[in-house]
């Protein structure tokens, strides 16, 4: 089937001129700033999303930062990053020479910080778009921006006001109603949403009788969360008019296809990058093969939608 792999149309339009040649992107925090994983075949990628970037450099959390759990991993990196200035001065010029759109994942403690980072990145050659990581706690309220539709809309609107870049808002799944969150950021001007960021979890070292992760809790990623992420995407894609990018536990092209069938316009792969550097290419090729086998012209033909799907009893 590989001989048909190049024929189907794999391009994705995320809006505001952000065109991807492949529906497979690498997720924030799992590919650094693109300089550390030369094994990965960049031609298989539609875009790269950078590590979460803040206004000033951050050194991150004390070790231990990660722990493996059944079919998953917890992380509490603490947004270790060199700050937006370094990104603009050192990384962006190198990205500008690449044949791959780079989306910068933006994080902050306050509304002002998000706005300042977004403003600094706007108009910078090499920066193709922004992804707002709203899973950060708001220093002012203590709550994460991403768990309150009002705050999430505010930060989206504020960033939207200062940039013409394509704007993706990355949803946190740690909420009662992710659809309400998604609607709020769509109304506030997001061009697309990515769903989802990690689920908050914990692991305890029973020998030492303390949490493994120094910060107590961490974000759960990997195959363990795939069914949860898929359901989030299924719900959100049914209600939104902007593209939804599916993220969470994708390891294989079959996993990616589940998200595309659930209504995602594209996918991001995260944890798998740590495990199989060849995953991006395999997933892209697997999607192409599937389209060819099913006689589908492009990935826009994939989403299924059933009216008979009810809530879980």
């Amino acid at each position: 089937m590989a001989f048909m792999a190049d024929r189907p149309d794999l391009t994705v339009d995320l809006g505001r001129g952000l065109q991807l040649r492949s529906p497979v992107m690498v997720a924030s925090g799992t590919f650094g700033y693109g300089f550390d994983a030369p094994q990965v075949d960049r031609t298989a990628l539609g875009a790269m999303v950078s590590k979460g970037t803040t206004l000033r450099p951050r050194e991150g959390n004390a070790p231990i930062r990660i722990a493996e759990t059944p079919s998953g991993m917890l992380n509490a990196i603490g947004l270790q990053n060199p700050g937006v200035d370094h990104v603009v001065r050192v990384y962006a010029p190198r990205w500008a020479t690449w044949d791959l759109p780079v989306i910068v994942n933006v994080a902050g403690d306050t509304m002002d910080e998000y706005v300042a980072v977004a403003r600094r990145l706007s108009g910078v050659t090499g920066v193709a778009g922004l992804e707002l990581n709203i899973s950060c706690p708001n220093v002012a309220s203590g709550l994460q921006f991403g768990v309150d539709p009002v705050q999430a809309a505010e930060v989206t609107r504020a960033v939207r006001a200062v940039t013409e870049l394509p704007l993706i808002v990355k949803l946190t799944p740690n909420v009662t109603d992710i659809v309400a969150m998604a609607r709020a950021v769509e109304d506030a001007g997001a061009d697309a949403v990515s769903a989802i960021n990690t689920y908050i979890g914990m692991a305890i070292d029973v020998r030492r009788r303390r949490p493994i992760i120094s910060r107590g809790s961490g974000g759960l990623s990997g195959p363990a969360i795939k069914p949860l992420a898929l359901y989030a995407v299924w719900q959100v894609a049914a209600e939104l008019h902007i593209p939804v990018i599916g993220v969470g536990g994708i390891m294989t092209s079959t996993d990616a296809l589940e998200f595309l069938l659930a209504g995602a316009a594209a996918v991001q792969i995260g944890t798998v990058n740590y495990v199989r550097p060849q995953a991006a290419a395999e997933i892209r090729n697997g999607i192409a093969d599937y389209l060819a086998e099913h006689g589908l012209p492009d990935i826009r033909a994939l989403p299924i939608r059933s009216t008979s799907v009810l809530t879980h009893v």
Binding site: P63, N75, Q80, V275
Partner: protein, 280 residues
């Protein structure tokens, strides 16, 4: 503050992924397994002290597992790994048979700095000894005088001295069944510390052992800069992308064990923050 931007030195990342074949499986010491893996390009690329991220297909695991190359034979195209079973990943590795394939990513990180002329002392505690066969060979090949200090719970858990040809080997056991009765660090006495030009120390083992060694060397007025440590931290990727392997830097902030290490000069580590480390 030392953050990702300003690494201790430029990143050596970029080990390749490839498949090797298990050509030999043996028990080098009680409770441990040695796998000899044939993979020509990887074997040729290994610097002593570097590690591989080994792919495991164990129930419920997802991450690769970091293992030092115990030794490598570039001409024979073979790499040795020595390990014990502590969980699902190592149990899966221990269950491999000759002829089975093994998914290797590496070699990764920085090995030991082997250059210089001073006598070298290699101090290994428990499975920390696993990294030294290749290191000792390389030091001997450079014409250096080498002493190996090996500690284990009991005699049967010692790697035979024959694995360190050309080196002087001293052992210590917790139960006194071989060599000195007590910690390997107590072997570290004046006669060994050399004179005049001083010595180089290369070490690997549990954090408490490393801390005790640091204390002992301080008493002997050996500078921290003369000590190199092969660190073990949890690892997500092994290639610098997950930032999960942070260790406290003497200069403040953190360095990445997989990029700036695993072999790091002891004066680059903030030992006060290491007490709470991975090994307990």
């Amino acid at each position: 503050m030392s953050i990702a931007v300003e690494r201790l030195s430029p990143s050596p990342s970029g080990g390749r992924q490839g498949w090797g074949v298990v050509v030999e499986r043996s028990v080098p010491m009680a409770g441990a397994v040695e796998l000899v893996v044939s993979q020509r390009s990887a074997a040729a690329a290994v610097a002593p002290g570097q590690f591989f991220q080994l792919g495991v297909s164990a129930p419920h695991t997802i991450l690769r597992r970091p293992y030092s190359a115990a030794w490598s034979d570039p001409r024979g195209g073979r790499i040795g790994f020595i390990f014990n079973v502590v969980g699902a990943g190592s149990a899966w590795l221990a269950g491999l048979h000759e002829g089975d394939e093994l998914d290797l990513l590496g070699p990764l990180g920085r090995g030991f700095d082997l250059e210089g002329h001073r006598p070298a002392i290699c101090v290994g505690g428990g499975l920390g000894i696993a990294v030294f066969p290749g290191v000792v060979d390389a030091l001997i090949a450079r014409g250096r005088s080498v002493t190996v200090l090996q500690g284990a719970r009991t005699a049967a858990q010692l790697l035979p001295a024959s694995r360190f040809a050309g080196a002087e080997v001293h052992v210590a056991t917790d139960d006194g069944s071989a060599g000195h009765h007590g910690s390997v660090v107590t072997l570290f006495s004046t006669p060994l510390t050399g004179e005049g030009e001083g010595i180089d120390i290369l070490t690997c083992g549990p954090t408490p052992m490393l801390m005790a060694l640091i204390d002992a060397t301080r008493r002997h007025e050996i500078p921290l800069s003369a000590i190199q440590v092969a660190l073990e931290t949890p690892m997500g990727c092994g290639i610098g992308t997950c930032l999960g392997c942070a260790a406290p830097a003497a200069a403040g902030g953190y360095f990445l064990t997989c990029q700036d290490g695993p072999c790091v000069r002891a004066d680059q580590i903030d030992w006060n923050l290491m007490t709470d480390g991975f090994h307990g």
